[in-house]
Symmetry: C2
Subunit: 404 residues, 2 copies
């Protein structure tokens, strides 16, 4: 057995500050809001990080007690790619992409589920359920399969087929609803009340965000410091909340002392409840009516963690940006043709947002910006619209095409 | 500028042993067979490897002169995953999967193209062409986009749509042929004769195999030594040839002294020319008539490097295994449900082969076996055959399903 390494101390509500013992499974605070894992950071140093390539390198600041309980499919340790052609095109000194498509199941959702499922298993849970606009469900399915526990996924019926196929491949029980992740969430909540399924919905349990926060630690190590801006696509908000939590922990650890990165969270113009709340100066969002966007991960009409996203953006002197579907499509193409990077629509949204941030003067020319590509383009719905490919019978015919 | 680090010395035909200066672009040997890159290994030590996560860690044994010329999208550094449930099921002590789906564009083809395109760019080439059963084309497209050079891809018209979409996304010129990769290869060869496109077909230029060989170096470092068996799906053969070349170089470097791993190369029962040649005791394969398999990467009726694959299998006291499409499908499901690993059909073929190797007594119970999952399941054609998913309107309805 590996020695215990986690420094998990308590669960705490970052809003009302009530605390709980972390030794039993728990969803939200008594006040109904998300809980954070808190650690005793006194003994944590950079030397205490583990010599691993995956996110379990950060076990001293994760809630799982030892490597023996750490499920791994190779999550984390994703590349940070400098983008010289985008730098030239946008006139910004340093632009990087943190490419999360390298994760198991092809998206950053693997980070959250690796940690949440590991912790759930350690706490004795045997059945986990999640409402998902897509990728959280297939990530849960993969980690549940790895450790031999049961996974139940409820998703909107218009979730991309590739994601549904993947969820079924990993052996999860999958059900569809005629609605958004909001309706799926209501059903999962009710089922978890009536059965022994435990709900691992976004921000509705405290450990997925811990997995997501490892993106912030990796970024710090890969960049040798923190950037001026991070730009992150935001549906349920765990990505932004996780990054902000990582930045704050690293400050508490004394690893960073300069200004914290400014966080730009990005939503789809057709579903931008948190951007609207940001611009209206509100502390929480109102449910978005008739949410519609090509990016399934951004079709979240009301996020449980909305106030935490708003807090992260405001405290970091950041902002919220809404981008049109057409701009996401164009940005996915631009990522591919300028940098050879395959992006999901949600990832494309960050490049579309960069365009707005540079145009509006928020991002300065001498700044360092990190865009997060949260997943693979291979799950993008309808990518081939308008694609025409010629069939040729000879090299002569092909050479004619090349001349034309 | 980074200091030159490569120890590339010459190109050499491993069959007729003729050598060439490596300073000009070159396809095959005057004898028509593939060329290998050869290095001056005298100064290479484990300490001279670079502190990088990607395959450029192995720059001292790669043909690119310095880090400045190394194109990266984050290729290599893929996870090696132990598979306890497969070990129990198959009764083998140690089974690992080297999961190549974490590469850019989701397959191991990225390794070969990262190195070949970097070297081509360094040698001044501006237009590259490839015949591809799928993933080599999209990988070439991505790296060509990254460095701003032109890519031409010719593929069979029944290549999975997801791969064609990806190739177009990265801005390559894509043409289809009514045939297999063999017809595509003939057309590309003729076009490259008539134009300034340079042909980077499998084994038809010497540097893709150099990228592939980094899998062998990584395996050695991750495992702390070499396994008893490696099991690799084989269409064109660069994977097997690259691994075998890496093992031989590491022996020459003095890093390994015990017996070399036995290599089991795996083909589809519907297209198994090299397996047939192996069983028939021949030194080369005959073109396979009417090749048919669900795994696009295995639909290669005649490989230019067939004799090198046969040599690797024989010298390593390995073998060749042919597996049915149904066995691949079942193995993809088994990988997913037992281990949470998402595999392409070609990767599934290695697990189907393990079944045969254990049943036939080739792999012993106390041995260490490494299976190579060469790509993501997200490009698998027709994965959803038979998939049924219920739509529910309430938690009560879902709970009824769960009881049933």
């Amino acid at each position: 057995m590996s020695p215990p390494l986690s420094n998990l101390d308590r669960l705490e509500c970052p809003t009302c500050h009530k605390t709980y013992e972390p030794t039993a499974p728990r969803n939200v605070c008594d006040c109904g809001r998300p809980l954070f894992a808190r650690y005793d950071l006194t003994g944590v140093t950079r030397a205490s990080l583990l010599p691993r390539r995956d996110l379990w390198r950060y076990l001293p600041v994760l809630p799982v007690s030892s490597e023996d309980h750490a499920l791994t499919l190779g999550e984390g340790g994703t590349p940070l790619l400098q983008c010289p052609a985008i730098e030239r095109t946008y006139g910004v000194s340093r632009v990087f992409v943190k490419d999360e498509s390298a994760n198991p199941t092809g998206t950053f959702k693997a980070r959250g589920m690796a940690v949440a499922v590991s912790r759930a298993k350690e706490l004795g849970l045997r059945r986990l359920a999640v409402p998902s606009a897509g990728n959280a469900g297939s990530a849960l399915a993969a980690y549940a399969a790895k450790t031999g526990i049961e996974a139940l996924v409820v998703a909107p019926k218009d979730t991309p087929l590739s994601i549904l196929q993947e969820t079924v491949l990993f052996g999860a029980r999958l059900f569809l609803v005629d609605g958004t992740i909001a309706q799926a969430g209501d059903i999962v909540k009710a089922v978890c009340k009536d059965t022994d399924f435990f709900n691992v919905a976004t921000m509705y349990e405290p450990y997925r965000v811990e997995g997501k926060k490892t993106m912030g630690y990796e970024l710090f190590e890969q960049l040798g410091g923190l950037p001026d801006w991070v730009v992150f696509p935001t549906g349920g908000g765990t990505g932004v909340v996780g990054l902000w939590k990582a930045f704050q922990e690293m400050r508490e650890l004394g690893w960073v002392d300069k200004a914290m990165p400014r966080i730009a969270f990005v939503q789809a113009a057709g579903c931008a409840p948190i951007v609207k709340a940001f611009k209206d100066g509100k502390e929480a969002s109102d449910p978005w009516k008739n949410p519609a966007t090509i990016a399934p991960g951004l079709r979240v009409p009301k996020a449980l963690g909305d106030s935490l996203v708003l807090k992260a953006a405001r405290e970091s002197r950041g902002t919220g940006v809404a981008v049109e579907d057409d701009a996401m499509r164009a940005a996915v193409s631009e990522f591919a043709r300028l940098e050879g990077i395959g992006a999901c629509y949600e990832g494309g949204a960050t490049l579309a947002a960069l365009h707005q941030l540079v145009q509006g003067g928020s991002v300065k020319r001498d700044e360092t910006v990190v865009l997060f590509n949260t997943g693979t383009p291979l799950k993008n719905p309808r990518p081939a619209v308008g694609m025409k490919v010629a069939t040729v019978e000879s090299s002569a015919e092909l050479e004619e095409h090349l001349k034309g």
